[in-house]
């Protein structure tokens, strides 16, 4: 694993290459006997602090499962997984929930927001759950970054899809988690809104120093990342640094071809 920080990320050198999350020999098996499906096959990977990583792969490759297991949303069948210094393996539901609450931010494809809460309340929800007061200055900064200042009192139903996802990003950022996991965050958006959201995610890494891991099947989305990890059949098969969407697309095409040949 490289220890230098890619200059292309545009950040200074203030961050040492410390992993924000990592997995060793991570295995996830569904079902038993005849119906046994190996979703993840001894995957070892690390996500560095202050880096924007995209996980790519064809559907069924296990990319979402990898994210779920590493974010503490799903149990693992073998190996280990950690967030910061904390080993997830063997944690009870209560500790795991606390860990997600305090150290992880999430952006999902849909159903990110509670319809009964307004935008601001949705953004501060993780802090409310933890019973913490949000850092007003930081909150201000996050809200401005995602461009929601004028819409904080709006309910989700009064916001466009793009705006809703920006609220979700703001929520993930507001609690200053150690790592943000985004699961197809642009899957339901048109390309312009999608580009906006991806821009914010990248900015949060470059300007605010966040760590972001994003699962996507969209080469354009992956093009925003500092690093792309390719998954196929539950294994990491390749990775790219500072990719362009064309490079990603090429890579995907090769997998597809390979898949067809084999």
């Amino acid at each position: 694993m490289t220890t230098t920080i890619p200059g292309a990320s545009g950040r200074g050198t203030a961050y040492a290459a410390v992993p924000a999350a990592g997995a060793t020999e991570l295995t996830k098996v569904y079902g038993e006997g005849e119906t046994k499906v190996v979703a993840l096959d001894r995957v070892s990977v690390e996500f560095m602090q202050g880096e924007f990583t995209a996980i790519m792969g064809p559907s069924g490759s296990g990319k979402s499962t990898l994210m779920h297991c590493m974010a503490g949303l799903d149990t693992i069948s073998g190996g280990s997984s950690r967030i910061g210094e904390t080993e997830l393996t063997g944690l009870k539901d209560k500790k795991l929930t606390q860990l997600r609450r305090d150290k992880v931010g999430f952006v999902f494809q849909a159903f990110n927001l509670l319809p009964t809460l307004n935008a601001l309340e949705n953004i501060t929800l993780p802090m409310d759950i933890a019973g913490r007061k949000p850092d007003e200055q930081w909150l201000q900064q996050v809200v401005e970054t995602v461009g929601l200042s004028g819409r904080l009192k709006h309910r989700p139903s009064q916001l466009s899809g793009g705006q809703q996802q920006r609220v979700a990003v703001a929520r993930a950022l507001a609690a200053r988690p150690e790592i943000i996991f985004a699961d197809e965050p642009t899957g339901n958006l048109d390309s312009r809104s999608g580009a906006e959201v991806l821009g914010f995610l990248r900015n949060s890494v470059r300007e605010l120093g966040q760590t972001v891991v994003m699962v996507t099947h969209d080469p354009v989305a992956a093009g925003y990342a500092d690093r792309v990890v390719f998954l196929a059949d539950g294994r990491i098969v390749d990775e790219l640094r500072d990719p362009t969407s064309e490079q990603v697309l090429d890579m995907m095409k090769r997998f597809d071809a390979k898949g067809r040949v084999s």
């Binding site: 979402s64 779920h68 974010a71 949303l73 799903d74 539901d93 209560k94 929930t97 606390q98 997600r100 609450r101 305090d102 931010g105 999430f106 999902f108 494809q109 849909a110 159903f111 990110n112 509670l114 319809p115 009964t116 809460l117 929800l125 993780p126 409310d128 759950i129 933890a130 019973g131 929520r171 699961d183 197809e184 899957g187 339901n188």
Partner: protein
Amino acid sequence: MLRTALRNVFAHKARLLMTVLAVMLGVAFVSGTLVFTSTISDAYTKSSEQGFDHVDVRLQPDEDADEGRPGDPPPLTQDLLDQAAALPGVKSATGNVAGFAALADKDGDLVGDGWSTSGANYYPATGDGGRGEDPRYPMQDGRGPENANEIAIDAKTAERTGYEVGDTPRMSVDGPVLEPTITGVFTTDDGNVAAGGSLVLFDTETAQDLFTKPGEYTEIDLAAAPGTSEKQLRAEAQKILPAESEALTGTKLADDQAREIEQGMDGLRTAMLAFAGIALFVGIFLIANTFTMLVAQRTKELALLRAVGASRRQVTRSVLFEAVAVGTVAALAGLAAGAGIGAGLRSLMGATGQTVPDGPLIVSPSTVIVSLVVGIVVTVLAAWLPARRAAKIPPVAAMSSVHAQASTRSLVVRNVIGAVIAGGGALMVVAGTTADDGKALMGGGAAVLLIGIFVLTPLLSRPLIALSAPLLRMFGVSGKLARQNAVRNPRRTAATASALMIGLTLITGLTVIGSGISNAIDKMATDAMKADYSVSMSNFTPLSPEVEKKLSELDEVTASSPLRTVPVAIGGDEEDLTAVKGEAVGQLLELDFAEGSFDGLAEGVPAGGGAAKAIVDDDTAEDEGWKTGDTIEVTYQDGAKGTLTVSGIYHGNEMIKGIMLDTSVVNSHVDKITDFEVWLKTEGGESGAMKDKLEAALGDNPAIAVMNEEDVSEAIAGLISMMLNILYAMLGMAVLVAVLGVINTLAMSVFERSQEIGMLRAIGLDRRAVKRMVRLESLVISLFGGVLGIGLGVFLGWAAGELISSSLDTYSLVLPWERMGYFLAGAALVGMLAALWPARRASRLNMLAAIKSE
């Protein structure tokens, strides 16, 4: 379409379970009531027929005959019996004497609570030289009673109490304690005994002493000789019949009794069915809610059906078919459960001492039909609106990816309609409080008000639930989310809370009225009571004058008076005079005199004749136009006439009213002197020791109650709270259905919000907090229903009280705060219990399945 409908029923069986349960409970209540009442009345009817096996014709005083003579018709004499025995076609004639006889068990407690214990005479058949046996009461053991110190008891009672021939149980008929020897144990087909009562037999002379007068009978039974029909015998008997008496055939007696039982059962049946109706009505909310939610969840499916060419009517029909299927299953299950309830109620009655005659469990065809029709009709009715709503789903909804949203249709129209209905209902109720005959107006108003409030509940839900915000804030995010979830779908919340509201409105209203009445009766009974003790038979049958005499002879008793009812005729109308001891009554009774006083009451009839003084209550005085100094002409039972002078007018109430005068004026004119109460003033006032002393003086008679003011209050309160408890038990069914409704709503909400809950879990809400969120939502909805119900109940209770107070002037509004607190706590408990399962489900939700997009 039928197949689609049926498939749906099976596809959503877990969700429909609550609906089935609700319909089932209601139907079970209905069919249980019908099974129970028909079983009981059938058994009673059979036992009443048994009771008349030995009777072909019965001669008895005619209660309806009015010959201008005050009081009951004259009893039948020995002469009549002798005459009847000599009639052609009579095989035997039996003179009956019957009345109340209390029997104490070995612990000194009353057998059968003093209500169903009777006494009668053992009438040995004449014929065999006068030393025969009474064919009605074959002796299982020993022989019939022959003198005043002997009795026989029925075998069932003997078995229950453990008495045997030779035992000397304590017993009492009208006060004095008797300790006769049991000489026989008999079997009988007497209906009362079959129904769990006890029967004590005396020899005829003793029975006459106790119940009538020597040589007098309450009934004469004739048995026909072979070859003589009932009718022929009756025709013969008519010839010797004295005035104010009648001759009835055994068949007619049995028919009359059966009809009476049927009528008695009718009242019970109507009351029980009313409560079943309430439970079913509450069930309608639950069913309508379920179908609304099922339709909402199936929006896409139904839209697809429309898109592929199903007409609106077909969609409506498919939902209704589903309702019919659910209703049928639920009604059948309810019917089965109802038979169980019927059997259970019978054995419950048996367990509480009110033994009922044995007989088969009757499930009549009409019970089956009524139960099925009720179950199906109610379900279809409740599903009607949701079915129409389903038909309005546009086919395009099948293509849209948007999840079915709660109806956002404006509530404005609904609110205006609701406000008008509720306002109208409230006005009707208020108008009813002052109207001359406000009952119908008020009842109608109450129903209209309830409907109006139901229509308004969605509007009321927001502000009322907002009130809970400060409390819920203590629970952090869970509390906040719970509050917002509770008002998220106002219609659903309203329907759920309304179901609970109806039950609690009735419960609170009845409790308010009950407390007021209890208080009013208590005031009536105790306000005027200056006496330290009131002595009466524990079942309020008449007391022998011996009791007052014995008590007045005690050194500790400083003043005493009986309350003696004396039937008289005044200007052709029958009245009851109340005779008291004139010299003592002033110390025992405190009356509010408008004019005059107790003075002079004790003088009785002046020496040499003339008018005796009497006091009259103000209502009677006003009705009759009497003033002090006026004279009243009365005709006594023995035909003698007397004159009374009104010497005082007092303010009476339901318990103390009418014409009051001295016992000396009337004693000689009464057939048989009986008192219904004795009042005592004792030296040093009331005390536990004094009560013991008084009871000892009466031979520690279990049939006599010696009560101080507190005991009287307690007895009244006990009676009212027993009635309330029965009503609570009945209304509990409606509350139970409402609980099912809350469970159902929550389960649906959890299901609908599974993605949201998954997201919350992902971003850090732990299982406990999720559970708490669901529980608090349930709590908020239940308390909302509770507050509405209690509020409405108080209002209706107040209104009904206003109506009652016009005829019961000691009535005043008493708000039972403590009980209302319990009801609110009960509503909260309902909420917590109802949330158990849905909350658990929510906390166990698979986070990933919930947040994974399709």
